[in-house]
């Protein structure tokens, strides 16, 4: 799909804090214009990995390039071309929207600063907050401002660390529309998230847990690779069933999904046999496609055991 060299191309990237290996020999290749979703439980090393890519942390092992520059030795050359959005709002609360953008664009030496700021403010609809202190913005608008700040210098790569945490669905949708627009312009984005709907909007995914890469590929590839079979049970008095189902052979997950239960397992035959008794009325049983969340939880359980 893209013949140009990958924007991110790292192998064996490792970070150790004290005695804890937070990122353990991780490989990743991301092509130009790709939206790459980065998923995994809390503390799985996503933030650490992203920080290593842009020079905020020094890798303890491994090598590779980001935008063609060595991640170990050329952090200073990578920085000007990367837009990084940290998990926590990290602009100045006590400065206005405009002052923040002005400061950031000065830091990057943006040409025609005033025009660039106006353009960004216009594009992100921040006009009416222009002179408002950043600290007084609501979560969604703070996140828009942070995104504005990380693209004002027209970076080639966006590293977004849980950019939509705590933001309402409407603002999240706007945000993703913006990311897709940028990808259309050839900008690459690596985005970490906990939201499954967001994962599904990515071109490709990587799932990491406890520092290890567990799965990569498109949503369909990741789901297929796990080989998880899922049944839906509907009927009355389902809560009483949950514990009973969990003890059955072949059953790996039982999740209440509204008024139904989703029961998943990787051993299709064993699972089918175990669930057979629950097909009788008043219950109904049917096989459904496994969703991403079930796949991820399955991946995570495997990583623990």
């Amino acid at each position: 799909m893209n013949p140009s060299p990958p924007v991110i191309d790292v192998t064996g990237l490792t970070k150790v804090f004290g005695h804890k290996t937070v990122v353990d020999h991780l490989d990743m290749q991301v092509g130009r214009g790709e939206i790459y979703g980065f998923l995994g439980p809390n503390g799985s090393g996503k933030t650490t990995f992203i920080r290593m890519l842009c020079g905020l942390l020094r890798p303890d092992d491994g090598q590779g390039t980001c935008l063609g520059f060595d991640v170990r030795t050329q952090a200073e050359l990578i920085k000007p071309h990367v837009g990084y959005m940290s998990q926590k709002f990290s602009l100045y609360d006590d400065m206005t929207v405009r002052e923040n953008l002005d400061f950031i664009s000065r830091m990057y030496g943006v040409a025609n600063r005033s025009a660039a700021i106006d353009r960004t403010i216009g594009r992100m609809n921040l006009g009416r907050f222009r002179d408002q202190l950043a600290g007084t913005l609501s979560g969604g608008w703070k996140q828009r401002l942070a995104l504005s700040a990380c693209m004002i210098h027209e970076p080639q790569l966006l590293l977004l660390d849980e950019p939509t945490a705590g933001v309402d669905p409407m603002a999240r949708r706007d945000f993703w529309d913006e990311v897709h627009k940028l990808a259309g312009e050839g900008i690459t984005a690596l985005i970490s998230t906990h939201y499954m709907d967001e994962a599904e909007r990515c071109h490709r995914l990587a799932y990491i847990a406890y520092g290890h890469l567990l799965a990569t590929g498109t949503v369909a590839q990741v789901v297929a690779a796990e080989g998880l079979v899922t049944y839906e049970i509907a009927g009355p008095q389902l809560y009483g069933l949950i514990d009973r189902l969990r003890g059955l052979p072949g059953v790996e997950q039982v999740v209440a999904f509204g008024i139904t239960l989703h029961v998943s397992g990787r051993e299709a035959d064993v699972l089918a046999h175990s669930l057979a008794p629950y097909a009788a009325p008043p219950l109904t049983l049917r096989q459904i496609p496994s969703n991403l969340e079930e796949v991820f939880i399955s991946l995570m359980r495997k990583a623990v055991t």
Partner: protein
Amino acid sequence: MARIVTFSLIRFAAMVSKEFTQMRRDRVTFGMMVGIPLLQLILFGYAINSDPKNLPTAILDNDRSVFSRDMAMAMQNSSYFKFTQAIGTEAEADELLRLGRIQFVVTFPVNFGRDLARGDRPVVLLEADATDPSATSNAVSAIRQAATDAFTRDLTGPLIALRPANGPVELRLHARYNPEAVTQYNIVPGLMGVVLTMTLVIITSLAITRERERGTMENLLITPVRPVEVLLGKMLPYIVVGYIQMGLIIIAAMTLFKVPVIGSLPLLFLVSFPFIAANLGVGITFSTIAQNQLQAVQMSFFFFLPSILLSGFMFPFQGMPEWAQWIGSVLPLTHYLRVVRGIVLKGNTFVDIAPHMWPIGLFLFASLGLGIKRYRQTLD
């Protein structure tokens, strides 16, 4: 509506144990809690002496007789005076006092011994650097005693009649630079150094810590900005603040306290630059060490306490034991106080104060160098 006002011992105990847990985690705060009282105890208990002894004294002996030597010996025995040099001329005495090398000059006139033997009550002149009145007052009363004691032994037998009721010698005291011994003349110029030290160290120590605590450091580090740009960019505004503070204190000193400004104010402003920068360097270094703003403030106090107590601001420098003087000599405030008092009260010129400038400069480079070295360009 029923309000629950009962006191729960369980909740209370949980609260207490939580506080202790957090206290234990916050190593710096814990260290300060132990360190500050110990430091105060040591400084107040051992280092500070409001009755300073062994004050450096120069002797100008125009008589060189057994009597002048006896009196000098008696002065030394009083333990208030320590003769550090013998000089030959009045000009040398002036020079040493002006530079603050010595606290006193004692002058014996020609024919001191002869006049004494004749019962003519010769005049002994004691010139004191009175910029800090508390350093001299006890020594002055000691010399009176010394004069009496010295000659009770000599004036015996046939000379016993020479012991006049009002003492064998006439003591004349010249309190130089601050003849009325107005404490404010000493305190107010010194206060300038103290205020600069306190405010500048605290403000800059918060500068980087605040960025880290609020999470804005991450955003700053991701930009191509260089450490020196960050550090100097944070220092420059406070240099301006420092000069504004200086201006205010000088105006107050001249108008409210009527402190006579003898030396050159432009010189004072010029030579204050390294001092201001040195304090900012300390603050910057603290801010690279402190985990949060509270720790930064605590560290600032840790620096401020010896600065105020061992610099000669509150208590006479010469009166402190040698180890305390040694610590004091490292601190920029100690040298800056001599510079300020020298310029304001004694009319010192640049050449006079130059010996106090290089320790400040050295401190500046050390603190700033440490700050830059410790400043991390990564979040590691």
